[in-house]
């Protein structure tokens, strides 16, 4: 599915958060939206998912997303946010099964074979099968994030939107989540848009990158080209490459090889 943004602008009163962003994202790509705090990264995700008011247009396969019914929009795109606050003790499976809402038919929305298969596959892919009957209130932060990722996989959208999906997660979950999303892209041929703070992850996994500064696009294109030394120095007011290499040096310690 082709995602097209044209002159996307988000403003709260006189304050412009995102200013005239335009790009086209074809299938099979992983777009990283990078930039410093307040650059408008999550706001773009909010606008694409129709949760934030905007001007300009968001088109999915040429169709205006703003005019789509909620269920159709959910079949086109799914969102994974960084924080999940749950109040009731739904089981993991019940939460994952909600992902099938937009695919259900009829007044009572009974589960078909397709729904059951999608739920099983999502639980398996995310390694949540063993926890399927467990209350979501008892899960760790990483497990909860995986449960909602399983819901998103069960939803089977044509485009995944991930808003800092591994924020607050430890390294193991971070690696697992990113590898899982990369596998999903490889298996389905679909695309992902994610907001990331970690530029190393953006370089490692992103095929395309949109670099933002104060709501403006600095550059959009192939990740390695966009995350150039010059662009990063301009946006972060810091020699990011030098800084990253310095951090890496901390691990070049011979005592660690014992």
């Amino acid at each position: 599915m082709m995602l097209e943004l044209e002159n996307l602008t988000v403003a709260y009163g006189a304050l412009t958060i995102v200013d005239g962003i335009s790009f086209t994202l074809p299938d099979g790509e992983w777009l990283m939206i990078a930039g410093p705090n307040g650059a408008g990264k999550s706001t773009i995700i909010g606008a694409i998912s129709q949760n934030v008011k905007y001007t300009g247009s968001v088109r999915l396969d040429g169709e205006d997303a703003a005019r789509m019914k909620p269920a159709k929009l959910a079949r086109k795109l799914g969102v994974l946010t960084q924080n999940h606050w749950v109040s009731y003790s739904f089981s993991v499976e019940e939460v994952v099964r909600l992902g099938r809402y937009s695919h259900s038919r009829g007044l009572f929305g009974g589960a078909g074979n397709g729904d059951n298969d999608a739920v099983e596959r999502a639980l398996e892919l995310t390694g949540m099968t063993a926890l399927r009957s467990q209350s979501v209130l008892t899960l760790s932060g990483g497990e909860l994030q995986r449960a909602f990722l399983a819901q998103l996989i069960a939803q089977d959208p044509e485009l995944m939107l991930l808003d800092e999906p591994t924020n607050h997660l430890d390294l193991v979950y971070q690696k697992q989540t990113f590898s899982l999303v990369r596998d999903w892209i490889a298996q389905t041929g679909r695309s992902v848009v994610s907001v990331v703070h970690d530029l190393s992850l953006a370089r490692a996994f992103g095929t395309r990158t949109l670099l933002l500064e104060h709501g403006h696009a600095v550059e959009y294109g192939e990740t390695k080209k966009v995350l150039s030394r010059e662009n990063l120095r301009r946006v972060y007011s810091l020699d990011v490459v030098e800084y990253m290499r310095g951090m890496f040096e901390q691990w070049n310690d011979s005592t660690l090889d014992v």
Binding site: N51, A74, W85, V86, F90, L107, S133
Partner: protein, 346 residues
Amino acid sequence: MKMAAVRQREGFGAGWYAIFAAVTLSAALICVCLGSVRVPIGDTVQIVWRAICGEEQSNTYSAIILRVRIPRVICTALIGAMLSVSGAAMQGLLKNPLADGSTLGVSSGASLGAVAALAFGIVVPGVSFAGVTALSMISAFLSLIVILALAYKLDYSLATNTIILIGVIFSMFVSSIISLVVTFAGDRVRQIMFWTMGSLSGKGYTEVLVLAGAFVALGAVILLHARELNAFAVGEENARGVGVNVRRVKLIIMVSVSAMIGICVSVSGTIGFVGLVTPHMTRMFTGPNHRKLLPASMFAGAVFLLLADLVSRTVLSPLELPAGVVTSFIGSIVFVLIFWRTRRGG
């Protein structure tokens, strides 16, 4: 421990509903038998059976059972079921275990209409309670419109916290207007005060028909939205993400709940804690899945209010306490226990 609890409630099925139905019917039967005059259970069953078969009966017991107790018991059960399912729906919709019609401000709005009708003697000829019902429902709907309009102005997405905050402010505002109305009520003050405490006495078959019609129509609307309520109970953002038409479902549930509460308040006055406490108790058996929780809450609410009404008319017999006093007394204690247990992670 919690995993075991989840597995246990996964087995909540037809057998449990049969038990709930049996308990509700038993409670109803006990309530029909007991009161200031005790009618033996055998005689009660015989009187009801003869009435069903269309036989004429003219003894005292049959008059008490058929003209006083049965309509009262049916009304009580229906009001309990509607208040309870309304509470369960609001708690799911707003993802807030403390939400119900009173938190939304609809109960207060309904009360204002009913109090105005009582204070100024507004009646519809032929149907004794129609004036109170009509004003109560109109007032509940108007309250809802005011609350939603304010919430919409402040927050386009109709976020739950905004609605609850406005509901609380609105309730406080309405209670001051009710006090003002009562000041001008003259000799009707006593009747209004008794009504505001919640009374289930003196109900007839007209009230039964009105309540049953509302229960079937509005209850069906709420039950058909069980899946959407599950999505809301996980989170409004999540509900929108999986494809729920958030604004439409919110409006449907809120209008259904306010209509149910408006009708209940007009018939029985304000009966607190049923919508808040019974869904909590029911959730312990069914879990939070609204497909099970909503129908089970109906049974639980009916039983809770039937027993509360039984206590209200027998504990100081022949004097009768307002049912709202009993539900608030029992409900507040149960609520504190539930809250304490939850905080301890039980």
